[in-house]
């Protein structure tokens, strides 16, 4: 058994796209997962808005209202204040999208698209765009650029501080992408390694494999629940940090 091959087969993305002449349309497992999640979310919300008269519909309407209140009062208002109301749709979308994609990876035959650095980088770029948009909207171009230099900085230090501040903002966006990617991929790797432990030890010695079976299964179940927690936690952390960074740009004082 080639362990590296097995891990990479289960963790990494697979391209089974279509090639017509020199044009290649990449259709990957992760992109299909994202597409499925987006379609399900879109139609669920569309159904909720238009056909919510039944008992289940009313319950879901209350739940969605609670969800929006949670994002507004727990994440947006404390860091962005009243100005954050116009950013509320973005934060609501961001949280539910990341959470759904994270949880989709727990379903059979689906993969966690957020364990792909390209996906998390795209999400972080959206958040970076939101941070810049917030700064430009509330302070204008000049005010936004001025906001990079902390107040009270001596004039001779400005040429040094300004690039450092710009790069540190870019790093914040990079960190958003890396954190989500690393947390999601590591959970799946741990799950797979625990499972492989049984087979590796079983190949070395049958009794050792049988002996490690129960502890490995127990740890597997424990890690699966931990993965569920991490799925919620990382969606929350990503949204919270985007709110904090946007708030820092909007309220520079």
């Amino acid at each position: 058994m080639n362990i590296t091959e097995t891990i990479s087969h289960h963790i990494l993305d697979h391209d089974w796209g279509i090639t017509v002449g020199s044009f290649h349309l990449p259709i990957t497992t992760h992109s299909v997962t994202i597409f499925c999640v987006s379609v399900i979310l879109f139609f669920s919300l569309w159904w909720l808005v238009n056909f919510h008269r039944g008992k289940a519909g009313r319950l879901l309407t209350v739940l969605s209202q609670e969800y929006v209140s949670f994002i507004r009062n727990g994440l947006v208002k404390p860091y962005l204040g009243e100005e954050g109301r116009q950013f509320l749709p973005y934060f609501c979308t961001l949280f539910i999208f990341i959470l759904s994609v994270n949880l989709a990876g727990m379903l059979p035959n689906m993969k966690t698209a957020t364990s792909n650095i390209s996906v998390t980088a795209a999400l972080a770029l959206c958040s970076g765009g939101m941070i810049i948009y917030g700064g430009l909207k509330f302070h204008g171009v000049i005010g936004f650029i001025k906001g990079f230099v902390p107040s009270g900085t001596p004039a001779w230090l400005v040429p040094l501080i300004f690039p450092l501040e710009v790069v540190s903002t870019l790093i914040k966006v990079c960190v958003l992408a890396i954190r989500l990617f690393a947390n999601m991929i590591s959970g799946h790797m741990v799950l797979l390694c625990l499972l492989l432990l049984v087979f590796i030890l079983g190949k070395m010695n049958l009794y050792a494999g049988a002996g490690v079976l129960l502890p490995a299964m127990f740890l597997e179940i424990f890690m699966t629940f931990l993965e569920l927690l991490v799925a919620f936690l990382q969606a929350y952390v990503f949204t919270l940090l985007t709110a904090i960074f946007t708030g820092a740009v909007v309220h520079t004082h």
Partner: protein
């Protein structure tokens, strides 16, 4: 021990370690790329690593300073 930090401060502090690491990796990676491009191995890598370290330190110190000042102010009260 008195509580000086809010939930927001905790979140920001939790990101500091990774910000420091990313700054270092970006500096070193950028230096390595420039070294390979201009055939100046290893000078730009070393320079990039130093620049990344300095940037990481700047990020940490800048984030810590207002919190330290606020904590000191509360202590004196």
């Amino acid at each position: 021990m008195k509580k000086h930090l809010s939930a927001k401060d905790h979140q920001q502090i939790a990101t500091l370690g990774m910000e420091f690491a990313v700054a270092e990796v970006l500096g070193t990676g950028g230096g390595l790329w420039l070294d390979q491009h201009y055939h100046t191995v290893p000078w730009l890598t070393v320079l990039g690593a130093f620049a990344g370290f300095m940037l990481g330190m700047y990020i940490v110190v800048r984030s810590a300073m207002p919190k330290g000042a606020a904590a000191a102010k509360k202590e004196t009260k």
